[in-house]
């Protein structure tokens, strides 16, 4: 092997592997964090888009990203239906609850007939919820060992029987009847929000304005704006993501720096030989940087593979969704390369400045 860079990498396989893993860790972290945020955000928006209502009527502050309050009287449904341009209105209670060790899940209480008429969801097995202990779930949840006839636990240990499976996914993956949800939450006659379908979607803004005029003091929002991306709805998430990305870059740089620092110390004598042979500082720095970049490139490839594997298994275990985007993959690759290059620069510069006679005498 004639290349000093490649032969050095092959000569110390364990240290090279650790360096590659260090870069891979940084790259995988960037991919997983950003993939999770994007996956969950897109999943939320995709499921929301299947509702097909143009307007959401609610009370200010009653619906947040991970919490809701059932404080809106359902009598508003009739008032909304009387407004010019409104085709139909359907009350919904959305309830968030802790799920497993990973986070929160959600369940909706809906007027099943009205909800299915408004949206494009259809039962593919069983029937809609009728009794207070009946629940319907979407295909994704059904695939996790919840066939029709099985039971799921909600609100602590209360068991609900799966009576139907619907498709496509829309809003929460589990739906009770509105009455069952009101009963469970002890909120009779209340809901979290009312979905409003307008006759002509092109006039949704005009209809929203009319609702505001006729029923003032509430919150009238277009559906497209109501289900924002996770990144926008959680304050500081974007900054948090950037901090994580920066930390990943620092991890990569530190691992490469440590590895290259050790390498330089071990190769002090070789650097002395290079200097005796007339290698310039620039040549020595470029040799070390090339080695670091080769390690970084391998780290990036391994990092992408790690992220894909981790995303797959985490999704299997927890239902968290990862969507890896090209832009973030590029960012992760740049971070891996820049981390490697910057991490190697100090040891490289140190090597380039070694006194050749001292280096040649190094044992």
């Amino acid at each position: 092997m004639d290349s000093l860079v490649i032969s050095n990498i092959r000569q110390r396989p364990l240290r090279s592997a650790i360096s590659v893993l260090g870069v891979a860790l940084g790259v995988a972290l960037v991919m997983l964090f950003t993939g999770l945020a994007r996956g969950m955000s897109d999943d939320l928006q995709r499921r929301s888009s299947n509702v097909r209502a143009e307007i959401i009527f609610t009370r200010p502050g009653s619906v947040q990203a991970t919490s809701t309050t059932a404080n809106l009287p359902t009598q508003y449904v009739d008032l909304l239906k009387q407004i010019d341009g409104v085709e139909t209105a359907v009350p919904v209670i959305r309830h968030f609850f802790p799920s497993g060790v990973w986070g929160v899940d959600q369940v909706e209480g809906v007027d099943w007939d009205g909800f299915t008429k408004m949206s494009n969801i259809r039962l593919i097995q069983g029937r809609g919820p009728q009794a207070l202990d009946e629940i319907v779930i979407d295909e994704t949840k059904a695939r996790r060992n919840h066939p029709v006839g099985s039971s799921v636990k909600l609100f602590g240990d209360k068991e609900f029987r799966v009576v139907g499976i619907y498709s496509p996914e829309s809003g929460a993956r589990s739906k009770l009847s509105l009455e069952a949800m009101q009963s469970a939450l002890e909120a009779p006659g209340k809901c979290s929000y009312i979905l409003v379908k307008v006759r002509n979607p092109a006039e949704q803004i005009a209809v929203a304005n009319r609702i505001n005029e006729k029923i003032p003091g509430n919150k009238v929002q277009l559906t497209a704006e109501f289900f924002p991306s996770v990144e926008n709805s959680i304050p500081g998430l974007a900054i948090f993501m950037r901090v994580l990305v920066a930390l990943a870059a620092v991890v990569s740089a530190l691992v490469v720096m440590l590895a290259m620092h050790t390498t330089i110390t071990e190769r002090t004598r070789e650097i002395g030989i290079l200097k005796a042979m007339g290698a310039s500082r620039r040549y020595i720095i470029s040799e070390i940087e090339r080695e670091a970049l080769a390690i970084s490139v391998m780290g990036i490839v391994v990092g992408f593979a790690l992220a894909a594997l981790a995303g797959f298994f985490i999704h299997k275990a927890t239902s968290l969704i990862f969507e890896f985007g090209g832009w973030w993959a590029l960012t992760a690759a740049v971070i891996g390369l820049a981390g490697g290059a910057l991490g190697a620069f100090y040891p490289a510069a140190r090597a380039a400045n070694l006194d050749p006679v001292t280096a040649l005498a190094y044992e």
């Binding site: 092997m1 000093l4 032969s7 092959r10 030989i273 007339g278």
Partner: protein
């Protein structure tokens, strides 16, 4: 014959703690092109220091060194490195080959450093043939005997046609048979390519192979 190296009144003082230790105390030396010169003397007399100064690895405290018309002592560190790259080839007692590279890899590395990626396969083949290393090119240093390693080191030193080869006890780690073989190679290089060689040695037989011998003692040429 032209003068290839000239050292005038070279002094080198090392600072050890608060004490000044003089290693060279005014060395003046002229070497002709194509000369094969032996430097002898007891340990600590300043031989290696002089060799390092002549090769631009150290800077003198005082004095002047001209290598093939270029003033090493007036040059910056980068310029000195450049002169070393173009005009000097080193051979060390401990061979100092890159252990991760094959014999050929060691030579190609020297070519890359010298010529920024360019190489001269004809010159390389010629040197290898002369040093009887053709069948050892794909071996790594640890797969070679001491004599073979030193011949690879010699090939590496001369592959870029340096003006001067500086050898620091090149037979010091070799047995009698390999010493004789390596010395023979030095002589052949000197005869065939008119290669200028300055060789430090403790071995009188090795010194006898040279055209001129200088003796050093206590930092002086005697």
């Amino acid at each position: 014959m032209a003068i290839i190296l000239k050292a005038e009144n070279l002094e080198k003082i090392y600072r050890v703690g608060k004490v000044d230790v003089p290693a060279l105390r005014g060395i003046t030396l002229t070497v002709q092109e194509g000369e094969f010169l032996a430097v002898m003397g007891p340990s600590g007399c300043g031989k290696s220091t002089m060799l390092h100064l002549l090769g631009g690895l150290l800077t003198p405290t005082k004095g002047r060194i001209i290598v093939d018309g270029e003033d090493l002592t007036a040059a910056s560190d980068a310029k000195r490195t450049d002169i070393r790259r173009r005009k000097i080839g080193f051979v060390f007692q401990r061979f100092n080959l890159f252990p991760t590279l094959t014999a050929e890899g060691n030579l190609r590395l020297a070519e890359r450093i010298h010529a920024n990626g360019a190489d001269d396969p004809d010159r390389r083949r010629e040197i290898l043939r002369m040093l009887k290393l053709e069948d050892k090119m794909h071996h790594k240093p640890l797969e070679l005997s001491g004599g073979e390693q030193q011949r690879v080191a010699l090939a590496r030193a001369v592959v870029n046609r340096p003006a001067i080869v500086l050898a620091d006890e090149p037979t010091g780690n070799l047995d009698t048979e390999n010493s004789a073989l390596v010395l023979k190679m030095f002589r052949e290089l000197n005869d065939r390519f008119n290669q200028t060689i300055i060789m430090i040695t403790h071995n009188p037989e090795a010194a006898a192979a040279c055209q001129r011998i200088i003796q050093m003692r206590d930092g002086h040429i005697v």
